[in-house]
Symmetry: C2
Subunit: 125 residues, 2 copies
């Protein structure tokens, strides 16, 4: 099995919005050298999830994890994402595609966010 | 100076959406015991930022940091938040209110997110 990870974020009309997501992809690619890492966006910014999965499939990836770069799970992750993934599974029947929870479900992410907030408040950022 | 931190998140029609933000507030309050910590939301979930600042002011806080629990900076943080804060400053002239950057600006947060993504892909979450 060849692993791939899609960092799936909301997107924004502001093109700068995608920068931290692309930076995250760079950090992840350095850290997890066995995985092929791509970004995808729900709205406004390219590429959409379908295209990101196509890219991974072209690279021979057959084990894909979609990781939502979202704070929490609302309508986008509970309704939109499963609908998009269901459609992708129909066109990529041989791929394993699993969905990770939102970033806010990770205690380590929340700990890092708390540290950032505390430092910002103390003016030590 | 008495410090306060507002964890300011987007919000969602889904009430569960606020849970990680409230969990983050709990972690932060335990970690930064000198600070009074509250949550606020831009849309759908209570309280709005104005009310969160009122709460801190009633507690005697005079040094407030608004920390956006957002992945990245788009229109909400570049336009909406400064406009809301400008209005709050008019009614709370004695308060110091500063704005922190989005969570995605923190390397430590991105590192924790990368670790989470890698573990999720390896099925080790």
């Amino acid at each position: 099995m060849k692993r791939g990870i899609v960092l799936f974020a909301h997107g924004s009309r502001d093109p700068e919005w995608g920068e931290p997501v692309r930076k995250l992809a760079g950090i992840l690619a350095e850290r997890d050298t066995d995985a092929s890492v791509v970004t995808a966006f729900l709205e406004h910014l390219p590429p959409p999830l379908e295209q990101a999965v196509d890219t991974l499939a072209e690279r021979g990836v057959n084990d894909i994890t979609v990781v939502p770069v979202f704070i929490a799970q609302g309508g986008h992750l509970k309704q939109d994402l499963p609908r998009i993934v269901a459609a992708i599974r129909k066109t990529h029947a041989k791929l394993s595609i699993k969905l990770a929870p939102a970033m806010g479900e990770s205690s380590a992410v929340l700990e890092a966010m708390a540290e950032f907030a505390s430092l910002a408040s103390r003016g030590a950022r």
